[in-house]
């Protein structure tokens, strides 16, 4: 083997990625070749230098990441709360046990049968909420575009709200139940849009980003436009605000949109958001914005945003300073 082919193998030799045969050949060659021995030493020195660059994440950062993740998951993504499940199971067991000695035990014994009336109540509750979110009076053509799937095996999450004994030795137990439901439909469906508008206010930022991203394609509707403006003004997550801005791009000439954009440019603490707002404002220039931008150049702390403002003003043949 000549030096050229050995040189190619040296990094792989160092990382233990050669076959035993290849390793032997490299060792044999370097043993009698000062140039390749030097190469090998340099490979080790490079690796040692790179080891110094290794950084470790501060433990607090890892803990922060973990709590952010769990908050995002618990904040809106569907999950099964094991404690709720345990409570539900305990409750059913307790009910079954307490009823087993009673005359009605034949009718009510067994968890499966006990679940039925409670399950029916849960479905009733879903009917109520669905009626609020989904227009059930929609014609049958809409029905083809929008289907809701509720599997009878879906988990029912329940919490006991109150336990009230009455004078006759009985008890009234009030339960809150939640059931997961899947609603499917096309983006241009009004009911789907309404659900997405509701989802844009969910606690979970991941759900908000996805919803706003999907709504972008429907920014022609006034309701969606207003929702995007609302997200841009009020959402605490910059990623969600940026998605809303993307959706507002085609509407950058709309006076209502421009009013909000100007307010956001003055108030938003995120550099990326401010930069994108400038792009949108400049794409449809108007005279009102020159004075505001000139004022802003003086106050802006961030270099990139200031440079962008100055460039925008120059492009509009305006001075970056105010006289």
């Amino acid at each position: 083997m000549n030096c050229d082919s050995i040189l190619r193998l040296i990094p792989l030799y160092y990382y233990g990625e050669l076959t035993p045969d290849e390793e032997e050949r490299v060792e044999e060659h370097t043993h009698g070749c000062p140039a390749c021995t030097r190469e090998m030493a340099q490979q080790r020195a490079l690796a040692a230098a790179l080891d110094k660059r290794q950084v470790v994440a501060a433990p607090m950062l890892l803990e922060d990441c973990r709590s952010d993740l769990m908050a995002a998951i618990q904040g809106g993504a569907p999950h099964v709360d094991p404690s709720a499940k345990r409570a539900w199971r305990l409750f059913l067991d307790a009910m079954a046990a307490s009823l087993s000695g009673a005359p009605l035990s034949g009718m009510l014994s067994g968890i499966a049968r006990l679940r039925q009336p409670l399950g029916a109540l849960a479905l009733l509750a879903i009917g109520f909420f669905a009626a609020r979110l989904i227009n059930t009076a929609a014609p049958s053509a809409t029905g083809a575009l929008l289907s809701s799937v509720t599997s009878p095996t879906d988990d029912v999450y329940s919490t006991v709200r109150s336990v009230q004994p009455d004078n006759s030795g009985g008890v009234a137990i009030s339960l809150d139940e939640t059931r997961r439901k899947v609603v499917k439909g096309r983006m241009d469906n009004a009911n789907i849009q309404r659900l997405l508008l509701a989802a844009a206010h969910e606690d979970n930022p991941a759900v908000r980003v996805e919803s706003v991203d999907l709504l972008r394609s429907q920014s022609g509707s006034t309701e969606v436009r207003d929702a995007l403006l609302n997200v841009l003004s009020a959402d605490s997550n910059a990623g969600v605000r940026l998605k809303a801005l993307e959706g507002l791009k085609p509407l950058a000439g709309d006076s209502e949109v421009r009013k909000t954009l100007r307010r956001v440019l003055l108030a938003d603490d995120n550099v990326a958001v401010r930069m994108l707002v400038i792009d949108l404002l400049v794409a449809n220039r108007d005279d009102n914005m020159v004075g505001m931008m000139q004022g802003l150049v003086q106050q802006e702390n961030n270099n990139s945003v200031r440079l962008k403002l100055e460039k925008a003003l120059r492009d509009m043949n305006a001075s970056p300073g105010r006289f």
């Binding site: 190619r8 990094p11 490079l46 952010d68």
Partner: protein, 203 residues
Amino acid sequence: MAQDAAGTVGARVSPQVDSLIRAAQAGDQDAFEQLVRTYDQSVLRLAINLLRSTEDARDVYQEAFLKVYRNLHAFRFDCSFHTWLYRIVTNICLDQLRKRKVRKEESPTIETQDGPIDRMDTFQEEAAHADPERSLWNRQLKQRIETALEDLTPRERMVFELRHYQGLRLRNIGELLGTTEEAAKNCLFRATQKMRAVLGDFT
């Protein structure tokens, strides 16, 4: 050399991890949390080492594990969980690196109230030296290393990171990057050559 937190580089998942995945798939939140804790330290380390920004590393962490959470039901045990997870993580990191290459926005310093500081100094070093001369030399070396790493393509950077710092075998790296072991070998060779050229007299 670094091993992944679960100690299962490229291997099938251990029985404990296996049962955690099954429990998490069945909706057990505690099991999911334990699963995250088994792997998240190495995921965060990979993201920080690659992106050199705590904010970006946090974003990668959140995006990757949310994806895992949403898609865990689709994990069918036909590859190791480590490979599956790292496919998600490396894809997100590569996207970030590619965007950066386009924007060339990452400056080596961060503006703070006390003036600009070196981005690398915002991290806790694994080995700190009290000797000032040695510190200066280390500082210059670190800057040179950063320059060398910036010269690598996102893919070369990723292969190098996974092999050198995360201790993964090139065969597994090829598998999770959707390429061959041979291509991963070539990437590692090119990355080493480029770094040698930039670091020169420092090594």
